[in-house]
């Protein structure tokens, strides 16, 4: 029961956060120079009458606070707004674009976790040995290199020079194979993976490097705990100590980092989608800003904000799963 109550409580706590995000985004978007209607009519001679008609139709002639109020009343009723530039409801666009972004971010995380944790453990175990030094240098490079640059380098090496992997777009595994022109599911899925590899590495490297550094530090600390010494004194093999006794308590900060870095990962996805020509939310967001498509900007931001908030709540919940000392705010 505690878990459900706690989850609801945390989600309710997220509401003020989302309201804050909405106000800031709304102001920033509207304060940006330029007029969305004139941008839309670009190329045509801007007819004052036409501009005014369009503004009236989308409520752009009203004062800012009224427009914000209108937008928010729509939002609480589940209406994400309407993209004037694309002439489609924002929610429809979101449904189309959220899949690729989530696929990219999740696969980048999987890549980061499955590489960073074993590497971090090995570095901690072989502290101050060559393995440790190499992994620390790799981590330092990973942390300090921009993801879009890694993406471009990967494209140059693997797509242009070697020609072994595709450099643009994604193949969505949830689509039927025929839609992508593939003969069967096997080919379809192999193609999905092949398309995913480069953007996944480009986006995941930063996460991997961050996680590895934290994993190393935590494991070093954990390996010096009294209970690890006790396990050694009772003849527990070193492998078991690494994988069980020292490992579990070292993972709490990792979970925190994973949760908090969701914002970095989502932000990085915007760049990576551009570099790899992936039609996800990130690219949609950039286009929306260029076109000053207010409601689309708002929609993307709110959805990304919600994903982040949910990620943090999941992080908090998984704490208690790993550490029995963490309770959901109830006393025994």
């Amino acid at each position: 029961m505690g878990l459900l109550k706690y989850t609801i409580y945390r989600l309710l706590q997220a509401i003020p956060v989302l309201i804050g995000i909405s106000i800031i985004t709304f102001l920033l978007a509207n304060l940006a120079p330029g007029d969305p209607v004139r941008l839309m009519l670009q190329g045509q001679q801007a007819d004052e009458e036409l501009v005014r008609t369009i503004e009236q139709r989308y409520g752009l002639d009203q004062p800012l606070h009224v427009r914000y109020w209108n937008y928010m009343t729509g939002l609480v009723q589940g209406d994400l707004g309407y993209s004037i530039h694309r002439d489609r409801p924002v929610s429809e666009l979101m449904l189309e674009r959220a899949g690729p972004t989530l696929l990219l971010v999740l696969s980048a995380y999987v890549f980061a976790i499955v590489t960073a944790i074993p590497l971090g453990i090995i570095a901690a175990k072989r502290r101050n040995e060559p393995t440790d030094h190499i992994s620390r240098i790799v981590a330092l490079i990973g942390v300090s290199t921009p993801s879009f640059w890694i993406g471009i380098m990967l494209i140059i090496i693997f797509a242009v020079q070697l020609g072994v992997l595709p450099s643009a777009g994604l193949v969505y595994p949830w689509q039927p194979p025929e839609a992508a022109g593939h003969d069967g599911y096997l080919e379809h899925w192999i193609e999905s993976i092949r398309h995913l590899i480069l953007p996944m590495i480009a986006l995941g490297t930063l996460q991997m490097a961050t996680l590895m550094r934290v994993e190393r530090t935590q494991m070093i600390e954990s390996l010096q705990e009294e209970y690890v010494k006790l396990a050694r004194a009772y003849g527990v093999p070193e492998r078991t100590i690494l994988r069980k006794h020292a490992f579990r308590s070292a993972q709490l900060p990792i979970i925190t980092i994973i949760g908090l870095n969701l914002s970095t990962a989502l932000g990085g996805a915007v760049l990576i989608e551009t570099v790899f020509a992936i039609n996800g939310m990130g690219r949609l967001f950039i286009e929306a800003i260029q076109q000053l498509d207010y409601q689309l900007i708002m929609g993307v931001t709110m959805v990304l904000g919600a994903i982040f908030v949910i990620g943090v709540v999941i992080t908090d919940i998984s704490y208690a799963y790993i550490d029995p000392r963490v309770t959901y705010g109830e006393r025994e």
Partner: protein, 394 residues
């Protein structure tokens, strides 16, 4: 007397740090017989814990056992010999690391650590940790180990053991956790338990309960103990024989009553004077002056002389061996103080040290080894000690 369970001879453990070599344990010898509780007493930094961890070969980097011999039931836990190239090397019969892990640690020698709050893993259930160690060291199935764990929890006085089995360490009080750690040690059915200040972190009433419990369990299981403590009160209560350590050396070794009533070494005497005793009435307790010097550059001569009320000039020059001065209950009473007659170094004719004379004290060297059969003792000359070429203690 039968062969001792554990025999430690001239054990030396050093830490190789950037600021120099720390001689944490510097040539100690003692024995533990079946069913005995042997105390290892001294101030913080005397090398008690390092000595006890050396017994299981669990000294952590940058520490290393550099000399001596540890024999447990005829097996060589540690032993060096001179190789054909003149270098010291591990003896063939010395147990390998995996033999230590599989046959000795937990199975034959178990430990109880000082801090019950830190010694249990916070993310696993108490029962699960207990079960794991039992399973590992007694070749029981998971189910049998579980039953045994619950039985042991009951044995050490934990109420509702079956329910507490499923709980996590943070749900236990300090005293209860220490009971769990004792259960852990006993449940592996070792012949020797190293208890490293197991009651220091507990309050006095709980300490009393734990000591009673150990006394009671020790009678029933006939386990031997090496009991590391700084508390002479605890020593009086449970130990059979005592080793007093100062700066990496054993300065006095005797059965407990002999040590208390026929105290030989001024350090032991100072330790005893610094605590309240029911058999003596004093107006004020007498703390030991100063702090123990660093083991990195021990004082010359007798290491205790800068703090010793009875120090004389000879003490700054002569480093006393631990020699047998008496016998009590069939055990030797050994001491390392030149005041005693067996040391033929003319203590009585030497000038007493005044406060301030310590400035003359040379540090760094261990000074001359003095012993009844040592001819260097009469010359009174200092010889710089080579790193591992210290004189044998007997």
């Amino acid at each position: 007397m039968s062969e001792p369970l554990l025999r430690v001879e001239n054990l030396k453990t050093q830490f190789f740090t950037e600021s120099g070599t720390v001689r944490a344990v510097d040539g100690i010898s003692f024995e533990v017989h079946e069913g005995e509780i042997v105390g290892l007493v001294g101030e913080s930094g005397a090398g008690k814990s390092v000595a006890s961890m050396s017994l299981m070969r669990l000294v952590e980097d940058p520490g290393e056992i550099v000399g001596g011999e540890i024999t447990y039931r005829g097996e060589t836990l540690f032993g060096l010999e001179e190789g054909p190239d003149g270098e010291l090397r591990e003896r063939d019969e010395m147990l390998s690391e995996s033999e230590m892990r599989e046959r000795i640690r937990g199975r034959e020698i178990a430990v109880i650590f000082q801090d019950p709050m830190e010694s249990l893993n916070p993310v696993f259930t108490v029962g699960g940790q207990l079960r794991e160690f039992i399973e590992l060291n007694r070749d029981l199935s998971s189910g049998e180990a579980r039953d045994e764990a619950i039985r042991m929890l009951r044995e050490v006085g934990i109420p509702d053991p079956a329910e507490r089995y499923e709980e996590y360490p943070h749900q236990f009080s300090g005293g209860m956790r220490q009971r769990v750690l004792i259960a852990m040690a006993l449940a592996c059915e070792p012949s020797l338990i190293i208890a490293d200040e197991p009651t220091t972190a507990l309050d006095v009433t709980v300490e009393g309960q734990i000591l009673d419990l150990v006394d009671d369990l020790q009678d029933r299981y006939d386990t031997s103990f090496v009991w590391v403590t700084h508390d002479m009160g605890v020593v009086a209560e449970i130990c059979d024989r005592v080793n007093v350590m100062y700066l990496g050396e054993i300065v006095e070794q005797a059965p407990v009553d002999e040590l208390f009533y026929d105290t030989n070494h001024p350090y032991t005497k100072a330790l005893l004077d610094s605590m309240p005793r029911p058999d003596r009435t004093v107006d004020e307790l007498d703390p030991i002056e100063g702090v123990m010097p660093e083991a990195i550059e021990p004082p010359s001569g007798c290491r205790f002389h800068p703090r010793c009320p009875d120090a004389r000039e000879v003490c700054t020059r002569v480093h006393p061996e631990t020699l047998e001065v008496d016998r009590a209950d069939g055990y030797p009473h050994r001491t390392a103080c030149v005041k005693h007659d067996v040391f033929d170094v003319d203590y009585d004719g030497s000038v007493p040290l005044e406060p301030g004379d310590e400035a003359e004290t040379r540090v760094g060297g261990t000074g001359t080894e003095a012993g009844a059969d040592s001819n260097s003792s009469s010359t009174g000359e200092e010889e710089p000690a080579s790193p591992d070429g210290g004189d044998p203690q007997r």
